[in-house]
Symmetry: C2
Subunit: 115 residues, 2 copies
């Protein structure tokens, strides 16, 4: 690909984001782990930052689902993709939703670790 | 079926409920509509109470997903199934999660109705 436009990834606008798609994106355990890591990161993270028990192609798929549902923003920086949560956008659309899901995931992780 | 035990439906215990399964159950637009209706009902609702644009067998499937994920409680009353949200159980496990999802769904419904 030589056209620079080809390397810009498509993201839903605020008006296009749907709560069902956001919940579907967050309902997968691997995607939820990715989102939890992003939520505590102070900066964008490359895909290769995430060490998860899935194939690289599967991980790419998970990032695409997160991007297409409006949960994350992805931009190319050189050949790497940088990933950031769309926390402000989601908060504007669905106040408290992402925090509620992250808190629930934290509760569950603590509960399972303790059992 | 003559044994009364055969008509008791299986429900996950609190310890068996997983946030991923709850989110998956809520991520479907039809199931989310069912849950929103239950959330404002003062009492249990029969399956036939819900008038939704899906086949009866599909609706039965949706109720099963909601029950098996821990979102609703179903009991037989005669030949009808009565459905109730497990709001208290979910609040105990994942404080604020269900309310956050319901609020997000309300926001979205208002937004889409206004556009």
């Amino acid at each position: 690909m030589t056209a620079s436009g080809a390397r810009v990834l498509a993201h839903p606008s605020l008006a296009e984001i749907r709560v069902e798609h956001v919940l579907h994106a967050l309902a997968d355990p691997i995607r939820l782990r990715i989102v939890r890591q992003m939520a505590v990161a102070s900066d964008g993270l490359t895909c290769s930052h995430f060490v998860l028990p899935v194939a690289k192609s599967t991980l790419t798929h998970h990032f695409r689902v997160l991007r297409e549902s409006g949960v994350i923003h992805q931009i190319y920086r050189g050949t790497a993709k940088m990933n950031e949560l769309r926390g402000d956008d989601l908060e504007k659309l669905f106040p408290g939703l992402l925090d509620g899901v992250l808190r629930a995931a934290d509760h569950e992780a603590a509960r399972l670790a303790g059992s």
